[in-house]
Symmetry: C2
Subunit: 122 residues, 2 copies
DNA sequence: CAAGTTACTTCCCTTTGGAAAGTGAGTAGC
DNA sequence: GCTACTCACTTTCCAAAGGGAAGTAACTTG
């Protein structure tokens, strides 16, 4: 009774939404932002967490995300030099999106709920 | 801003999340799903709502989304034959994600909030 | 039968992604 | 001093995907 199907609209045309999709609408970006939610990670750590993600693309994504102010790169001293990536406030704000995506993902895996049979043709 | 004690985590490894990113992690998909939230739209309507999206890619995305059970294609009779695309329950469930993305988008456009100056090097 | 409408499909070219190998900085070992 | 080793990239090569324009198919109207 609290809330029925309150249909909030999404402004697909607004600059903010377009910008967000520009970031999300390519492989690996959302995954990188999501796993950095748990805390700072080094280049190698991200690489091994994301199976299938190659060094080149990872490097490119990190550069892009840093340029957009979503994460901050810092070089740690020490014999083998290490680089750590940490989310900024903008990057951390992505957590909300990540959780929404995860919840939606579960619906995706669930079996289809067929409604009415519609006209199907080609 | 104090640190929230309950930092909800996102399981980046789970199948559901991966599947969701497989759908979202490419251009235009999220935009298409978002503007279909408002109701069924025809091919041409989607095309003109999404500036920059070409016919070929739109056609491909719609096929893919239909195959994944996110939307339903139906051919409307009439002299010029028209095709309408309508979201299924899985597709409508994306609305939550879309709204989260839109909210996050506004943070993205906002000016950076520089925290403490960290080690910057290259 | 030519023109118009709608929904695609094809073609061509550029951009991006994926996999693997190479580079450079800095230390440790011989 | 030379080599080996680690880590973080960068480069190279090739396949896949995207962008734009033009072509196709079905069907009606003039």
């Amino acid at each position: 009774m609290s809330k029925g199907p309150a249909k909030q609209s999404v402004d697909c045309q607004c600059e903010a939404f377009r910008l967000a999709l520009e970031v999300l609408g390519r492989p690996w970006t959302a995954l990188i932002l999501s796993l950095l939610q748990e805390g700072p990670r080094r280049f190698g750590e991200i690489a091994e967490s994301a199976a299938g993600l190659g060094d080149k693309v990872l490097s490119g994504r990190l550069k892009d995300l840093e340029a957009r102010g979503l994460l901050q790169r810092s070089v740690l001293p020490g014999p083998p030099v290490r680089v750590s990536y940490e989310l900024t406030s903008k990057g951390r704000a992505f957590g909300e999106v990540a959780r929404a995506v995860e919840r939606w993902g579960h619906e995706l895996v669930a079996p289809n709920v067929p409604r009415r049979s519609g006209v199907r043709a080609r």
